[in-house]
Structures are given as C-alpha cells and as structure tokens.
C-alpha cells in the first residue's frame, strides 16, 4: 500500500489538462494522481473549467457569426446593385475590413526596405480574395452571385411560375437552437486551430459545368418535386423574415456552409479552396477554384464586378434530379426574366427523417 502523498501537484494541473507539461512532468503528475483522491478531484475541476472555457468561446464565436448572417439580408436589400466590393466600407451593420486589403491599398505602410514596394502588388490578390469573400456572404444569405456561360432550359419538369404566399408572414419554420448550431458547426477545433481544412464549407458541394447544366442524376417523382418545392418556398418566406428561421430549414452541412462562408466573409479571411471541389468548364477543364498557391480566382472576379444580386423572392424551382448520393439538386429560375435562356442558381436538398432540408444553394447572375 502506498503512503499518502505529501507534495500535491495542484499547481501543475492546468498545464496537465491543456497538454503543455513535458513528458517527464506529465508522468510524475499522473503517478501522483493515481494515489491522491484530492488531486483527482482537482483534476476533474480543471477539466470542467477547460470544457466550460471552450464552450463559452465557441458560443461567443457562434453568436458573432449568427449576428453577421442574420444582418446580411438587410445589406443586400439596401445595396441592390452590389457595386464592386470596397473592403473598408460599412454596409448594413457589418464593418467589412481586414488586414490584407488595408495593406494593399487603404493604409500606407512605412517601407521597411526597398522591397516593401512590392508589398502592394503581392497582396493585391488578397484584396481580390476579399471580393470573393463578399461573394460568400451572398451565398450564405441566399443571394449569391456568380456568373457563367449560357444554357438553354428545356423540358422543365416542375412549375416555373412565381408562387404567391412567400412573404415573411408565411414562414412557419423556427431558427435552429444554439445547441444545434454548436453541434452542426463543431467549432471548437476551428477556434483552437486544430482543424484547418475549411474547404468542405467554403466550396459548393454541387459541381455545375459550363455550359450550365445540372449534374447527372435520375428523375424524381411529382410528389417529391412538390415536397422540395414547398421547402424552397418556405425558405424564401423565412429569409424574408430575417430572423434566422430560414436556417431551420437547412441540414447540418448546410448550416456549416452558411456559417463558415459568412464568418469568413465577415472577416474577409482567405478562403482555402482546394482541388477537391472544382467548378469545371466542359472541354477546357479550367478550374474556377484554385489551389492555395493561387488562391485568388481571376476567372470569378470579372464576373463579380458585373454581377447583380437577384431577388431571392423571384427564384422558383425549375428542373430537378436525384444525385447518386441521395440528394436532389434543382435549378432555380428567376420568374421575372422574360429572356429565360439559362438557370439562375441551384439548390440541393437532403432528406433527413421525413423532411427534405436544404443542403446547399447558390445563385448565378451575369
């Protein structure tokens, strides 16, 4: 039987919990803990504090991002023509600015060396990235911008007329709870920097080729078509409500995409797009996405400069197909357009239980 420990290890427990003790010290603490009930209770206390701290930090981050997301619709309403983004202009409550564009243009850095003169040209692509980041805010709020080539729509299997009853008053969905946000976003690894792969969230999950056409899939039955159309109409109504209820109609992955795209755009961080998700151009296989070495996407930026925000309330479901992964992807049509030769966006639905939920969507306009 071991004797009662005399030298407690309480002062080392915070470092033991956060993993910053060296191996030798950690082993010594562990040996002591094996024989000391008092210190084991203290260890539990520090672990509880650690979890509470991480939870509080994650909750705070979530709150900040939620505010940004909910605020966004008012921005697009106030700025319908969407001029080329100025990263230091305050729009609708979001003060969009970041280091990179500041270095690139708005703030004069005192030159460290003659080579500092190259700073602006080096960082200019990052300011272009800021423009792409603003694009992501639009995606997250359902008012995305994108531009591609033309595509003639034919054989629409679903109604294309603008439906009525899509106002805020028609929204019956509830916003996601804080717990669901926390679960869906799994934000702690991102906050702590242990998880750096954001490509999953920052790139579209549906590949659209140019000329624009939906991905390959099987046709859907009319009942399912009516169901997903109803979900889309609810989404439009709830987006008009501007209270976050639209997010209650999204899958966890959909929430993740909305959150991280908006959060990144709000802070105008770089968007780590990878080779894994490419917007391909048929024939040339040109990538609109890019590797980290060429993060700015010049093929997107000119489109951004001339893009206009479409009115979400006018977007209706067009064609729809079921993908091999079980999701339904539908084209979105602007019902106000008389020259409807191409579709204006896509929305992907995933069935969770008995409900179809929105897994991803974005719009094109050129």
């Amino acid at each position: 039987m071991s004797s009662a420990p005399i030298n407690h290890v309480a002062e080392h427990l915070p470092a033991f919990v956060n993993g910053t003790l060296d191996d030798e010290s950690s082993s010594a603490v562990q040996r002591h803990l094996d024989n000391c009930n008092e210190c084991r209770v203290s260890l539990l206390a520090w672990r509880a504090i650690s979890l509470a701290t991480q939870s509080a930090a994650a909750r705070y981050e979530t709150r900040v991002a939620q505010q940004a997301i909910v605020q966004f619709p008012s921005i697009t309403t106030a700025d319908p023509d969407c001029p080329q983004p100025d990263p230091r202009i305050e729009r609708g409550g979001i003060h969009v600015h970041t280091l990179a564009p500041a270095l690139a243009g708005s703030v004069d850095l005192a030159p460290r060396t003659p080579s500092q003169r190259t700073l602006r040209s080096t960082l200019r692509p990052v300011s272009q990235l800021a423009a792409v980041a603003v694009l992501a805010v639009s995606i997250a709020a359902g008012l995305g911008l994108y531009a591609n080539g033309g595509f003639g729509i034919s054989n629409s299997s679903l109604p294309a007329a603008a439906p009525a009853n899509r106002t805020a008053a028609d929204c019956t969905a509830a916003p996601p709870t804080s717990e669901r946000w926390a679960t869906a976003l799994n934000i702690v690894p991102l906050v702590t920097g242990t998880e750096m792969n954001l490509a999953k969230w920052l790139t579209p999950s549906v590949v659209i080729t140019v000329p624009k056409r939906l991905p390959s899939g099987t046709s859907i039955d009319p009942t399912t078509g009516e169901q997903v159309t109803a979900v889309w109409n609810q989404f439009v109504a709830c987006t008009a409500a501007k209270d976050g209820s639209a997010f209650g109609l999204m899958t966890d992955d959909g929430l993740g995409r909305s959150f991280y795209q908006a959060a990144y755009a709000a802070s105008l961080g770089s968007m780590p797009v990878t080779d894994e998700s490419k917007l391909t151009r048929s024939g040339s296989e040109e990538n609109a996405a890019s590797t980290p070495e060429s993060k700015p996407t010049p093929s997107v930026e000119p489109a951004l400069q001339t893009a206009k925000i479409s009115d979400l309330g006018n977007l209706v479901i067009g064609e729809a197909v079921m993908l091999p992964d079980g999701r339904i992807v539908a084209s979105l049509l602007d019902s106000t357009r008389t020259d409807q030769t191409e579709f204006d966006g896509v929305v992907a639905f995933l069935k969770i239980g008995n409900d179809w939920l929105i897994d991803d969507f974005y719009t094109f306009h050129g």
């Binding site: 080392h12 915070p14 910053t20 060296d22 701290t53 060396t113 702590t192 920097g193």
Partner: protein
C-alpha cells in the same frame, strides 16, 4: 517540475520546389518579415488570424474592435519584427503584441481595464476542498458562470484552455512571472466557483 518549452510553437507549412512539405516556424517567418518579406507577413497572418481574432473578441467583446486591433497587431509585426529577440516563441510574441494593442486601445477609449493585482493571491500547491463543486457542476452552469468572471481571469482561461499556451508562454504574453500565472489561474478558478455559488444563492 518543468513546463514544456513552447511546445506548441506555431508552424507554417509550405511547399518547396520539389513538392515536399517544409515546416516553417513562426520564428522563421518573423525573421523573414524583419528582412521586409511581405509573403512571410501574409503567411503569418493567415496562420494566426483566427486564434488572434478569437482571443481579441473575448478581450474586447466587440468584433469590429477586435478586427481593428488585429490589423494594428499585424502592422506592429511588420514595423517591429526586427525587435523580435527569439527569447520567446513567435506565438508568444504575437499574442503579447495583440494584448498590448488591445489594452492600449481600450484605455484610449476609456474602457476600464481591471487591475488584476487586487484580485490575485498566492499560488496554491494543494488541492482546494471546494473543487468538488466545480467537478460536479453542470456544463451549462459552468459556462454561464464563465461569462460572469472578470476579464483578466476570462483571458487567462481562454489562453490556457482554448489556445493551449504553456505557463511560460502565458507569462510571456501577459508580461508576468510564471508564479503569477499560476496564482492567476487559481484566482480564476476561485472566482468561477464564487460565480457558481452566487447563481445558486439567487
């Protein structure tokens, strides 16, 4: 017992000419910045933007202010990189600059900065009897209590348990001796416990 020596010093991955991964320390990036290399500044920014912003948001409770301080911090890195002596890790240096910038800005805007000296006591080496209260409390109550503790205590808990800084790194960032780091952590624990007791008494 020794603390680890900057065990989690920041690293940045780069691709060399032959396609293999090369790990570049934050310290090396700072050295490149001191020579006027803007790409190194960009790499350092991209690697540290998120943790710094997260920390500054907690410090300021204001997203815009946090963003502003982050820009100030990176500007300070650009202009003072040659002052980095290498005695601390690059991450410690960055967090310390961000913290100084935050405190300076808060003072300039007449936002009170709590004098931590009055809150701290001697570090403890023994377990505390009331630890059982913290150990068995619900996560929700703990998180609520966390919101009610003082800013310096919230700060050190965030740096310790969200950003994973060692005692030595904490000392470097906060500008205090390691002994004070320990006593502040224990003071934070006591304040957390008091906040829990207070909410139960209501």
């Amino acid at each position: 017992m020794a603390d680890s020596v900057d065990a989690k010093s920041q690293q940045v991955r780069q691709i060399d000419g032959e396609g293999s991964q090369v790990v570049e320390q934050a310290e090396e990036l700072i050295a490149r910045i001191s020579r006027g290399d803007p790409e190194a500044l960009q790499d350092l920014y991209e690697r540290n933007r998120r943790p710094l912003l997260s920390y500054l948001r907690v410090m300021t409770s204001n997203n815009d202010l946090a963003e502003e301080i982050l820009q100030d911090t990176l500007y300070a890195v650009w202009t003072s990189a040659d002052g980095f002596s290498g005695k601390s890790s690059g991450r410690t240096w960055l967090f310390a600059i961000a913290r100084r910038r935050a405190r300076d800005l808060l003072r300039k805007r007449s936002i009170p900065v709590v004098d931590i000296a009055v809150l701290e006591t001697l570090p403890t080496t023994s377990p505390e009897p009331d630890d059982i209260v913290l150990a068995i409390e619900s996560a929700e109550a703990m998180t609520r209590a966390f919101d009610r503790i003082s800013d310096p205590h919230r700060e050190i808990l965030i740096l310790t348990f969200v950003h994973g800084l060692s005692y030595r790194e904490l000392a470097g960032v906060l500008g205090i001796p390691i002994g004070t780091v320990k006593s502040r952590l224990f003071a934070a624990k006591r304040e957390l416990r008091a906040a829990l007791n207070e909410s139960e008494a209501r």
